[in-house]
Symmetry: C2
Subunit: 453 residues, 2 copies
């Protein structure tokens, strides 16, 4: 069925209140697909449709909305329906939602919940949003090391219904310190009477709740984990991060890095959902900063006004020289920033990479010098062609080295190396390019008796 027909049906269901028709319509759809149909409706309409769905479907569907839409929608729901929904949601998602609700709504909800529910929400909601604690869930499964394999499986059958996963289970001591993990696969494959203590993995990979969330994603990807246990200050197990949350984090982080490298600030939602004002705010700061940075390039040109006035033909080559420095620089910077982000490259590789970069950039500069030399001779004679070719080699080398060095420097000073990488390097390369070009031109052409213009 086409998306348009479904939208018409949904509109009809809203008018008629025909819940059976809705169930019929969505019964074969994945919650992610149902959620994708709804954002074109108003928050009230979405609320009405959600209430017609069974509770478990409702809790699944809302989890696929952006957090802003979740807030808008739940604020249209009656208090008792909201409580029911919040109880049904996975506890990492409900903590995120709770965090974004207005304070008075938070207080209303709290007064209607049990103490254990309140404590769980408070615990998860207390981590700031870029930390591991904010993406973990406390619905993990636990088994006892003294159980046999078959007892472990039976225990999971009884306790596992509302756990995030039963494929990886955790073994803790009396103080809830993590002492091992065991996969359901191992329990199935083991001799039924073998004790879990004998085949569990001791000393498992884990992460602290205060670490950055992308570190959790990196560990899960590196060790191909289904879930990563999260511990707090006292080495106590407090939650797990599952691979599907890690995938979302990795995608968010890549988007943030890509945006950052083009001076686009953090957006709470995607491009399509973002308001004009939030887009403006995310873009304006760096644009203005770079305007003022470019004044230096203008000043460089102004400084060489006499040389330019005498050799106006030089201007023809300025854009391609300056752009080449910037382009080569952003290539190096991009390679470096991504290498640092994926962990392929680290600070200790700096000298090895420097040597390689000099070689590569030298070869690139030489290639491009040959290309512009031909254009230069045709357009402006041999003298200016020499200046242009010489400049090209130097600016490509300088641009590349700036591109290689700046991300390292930013990291050293505690900034994200992705920050503004491309435009910042282009701007720095612009200034250097202009100074080098007209510097060489002034020096070389002042020796030439008659300038070829």
């Amino acid at each position: 069925m086409s998306e348009l027909t479904i939208m018409d049906d949904l509109r009809h269901i809203l008018l008629s209140g025909d819940a059976d028709k809705l169930l019929n319509l969505i019964s074969n759809e994945h919650p992610a697909d149902v959620a994708a149909l709804l954002p074109d409706f108003s928050a009230e309409e979405i609320g009405t449709l959600l209430v017609m769905m069974p509770l478990d479907v409702r809790a699944d569907v809302i989890g696929y909305f952006s957090i802003e839409l979740q807030v808008d929608v739940v604020l249209t729901l009656d208090q008792d329906i909201l409580i029911e929904l919040i109880r049904e949601m996975p506890n990492d998602e409900r903590a995120d939602l709770f965090n974004q609700l207005p304070l008075e709504k938070q207080q209303q909800l709290m007064s209607d919940m049990k103490k254990s529910e309140r404590d769980d929400i408070f615990k998860l909601a207390s981590y700031s949003e870029d930390r591991v604690g904010s993406i973990m869930t406390s619905d993990y499964a636990v088994v006892d090391a003294k159980m046999t394999a078959v007892q472990g499986i039976d225990f999971l059958r009884k306790t596992g219904a509302d756990k995030e996963t039963i494929y990886i289970t955790y073994v803790v001591d009396g103080a809830r310190r993590l002492i091992g993990t065991v996969s359901l696969r191992k329990m199935i494959m083991a001799d039924p009477d073998e004790k879990i203590a004998h085949f569990m993995t001791t000393d498992p990979v884990s992460i602290h709740a205060d670490e950055p969330q992308e570190e959790a994603a990196r560990l899960i990807s590196r060790y191909d984990l289904l879930a990563l246990p999260v511990i707090n200050g006292g080495d106590k197990l407090v939650g797990i991060v599952t691979y599907d949350d890690a995938m979302d984090v990795a995608e968010e982080e890549a988007t943030e890095d890509i945006h950052k490298s083009a001076t686009v600030g953090k957006l709470e939602s995607g491009l399509r959902a973002a308001s004009p004002f939030s887009l403006y705010r995310s873009r304006v700061m760096w644009l203005v900063v770079l305007v003022f940075a470019n004044i230096f390039t203008g000043a460089g040109i102004a400084y060489f006004e006499d040389t330019i006035a005498t050799h106006l033909a030089l201007l023809f080559f300025m854009p391609l020289l300056v752009a080449s420095a910037g382009n080569a620089g952003s290539q190096s910077a991009t390679l470096m920033v991504r290498g640092l982000a994926t962990g392929e490259v680290s600070g200790k590789d700096w000298f090895r990479l420097l040597g390689k970069e000099v070689l590569v950039a030298g070869a690139l500069g030489l290639t491009m010098a040959l290309a512009v030399m031909a254009v230069g001779i045709l357009r402006a004679g041999i003298d200016i062609a020499v200046v242009v070719a010489l400049t090209m080699i130097i600016v490509v080398l300088v641009g590349s080295l700036i591109g290689l060095g700046l991300p390292f420097l930013l990291e050293k000073f505690g900034s994200d190396p992705a920050t503004a990488s491309t435009p910042l390097i282009t701007t720095i390369a612009d200034v250097c390019g202009v100074l080098i070009y007209f510097g060489i031109a002034s020096w070389y052409l002042s020796d030439v008796i008659k300038a070829p213009i």
Copy 2:
């Protein structure tokens, strides 16, 4: 233990051939960590160390190497050791490795393998490297819909040992067509005597082996799958893609997009491992193309030489105006390219986004015009300040719209929208910026009786 100490120990083990010491050293290390230690050794040395490890560890460790290093290392191994290793490797990894071996080595290996092994390798190795077929494994678990839950679990216990996962199993008909999937969790939680047919998921999400591999990653992420079944032309189940391979694909794709957007071509390995020549080759093409594209900017400047000669003060503002057009354009392009890549934005959003972009870019242009107006008055008087401010509004708007439009156009013509996005847009914005700036200046300043220089 520090990494340096371990490296020293490994060097010592190489000299002494003390396999026990090696086992001792790596017994508590994850294969990914062992693999990370080795690339500083020569291929022969790595081969020697691998042969000292137990076969299963050896097969795990080599899977974490880059494919180039895998090839270099296995070419140092004796034929019988290589056959043993290839048999032990997961069959998606061994097909990838096989694909990269020299032809004569492939033939030697084939003649020493069983027909079923040969067929499996040929099948998997026949897909080109960016397709789903190349990342799938044929080691998936199958159950029968007529089995009860407890029979299904018993069957997995017997047949599951060498399967990639037993947490998701597949139900096929006599012609091996996929008719359902069932999770081990459901089997554990179900009434032991309930038939799998009753609780399996019919009509599961699946993908064709010829689809692009990033589409598999997108489906796994969207539906939070542990594994995605892969079918061929006849709807037959031919393999599965697991979440951990999807994570690797998503990371590779993000890296490729990030590189592409800065005109860096495809690299077979990471920055650290890449040879100077492969880096040169990945960067040179676009740099040279952009040099020639920038000749248009130079020609634009040359066209307005008279205006420039009369008002040399105009040159001071050229870099910041041209750069602002490029920066605003690459912001828009970056937002758009990433939105298209993550699926948040699609072609049908174009008009809605256009309206929003005009609003945002107009506001950005106005803000920046105010900023440069002040500089303009101080530096060059009111007339040039007006020209500069007016130009700023127009070039930011034009740059942003080019940035918004070009990725859509590239996609329409079947190119990847990420291709060269930033430098290409900067270059186009340069040309437009120069023409608009000096165009406005010629028109406006020719009306001014006395030019303020």
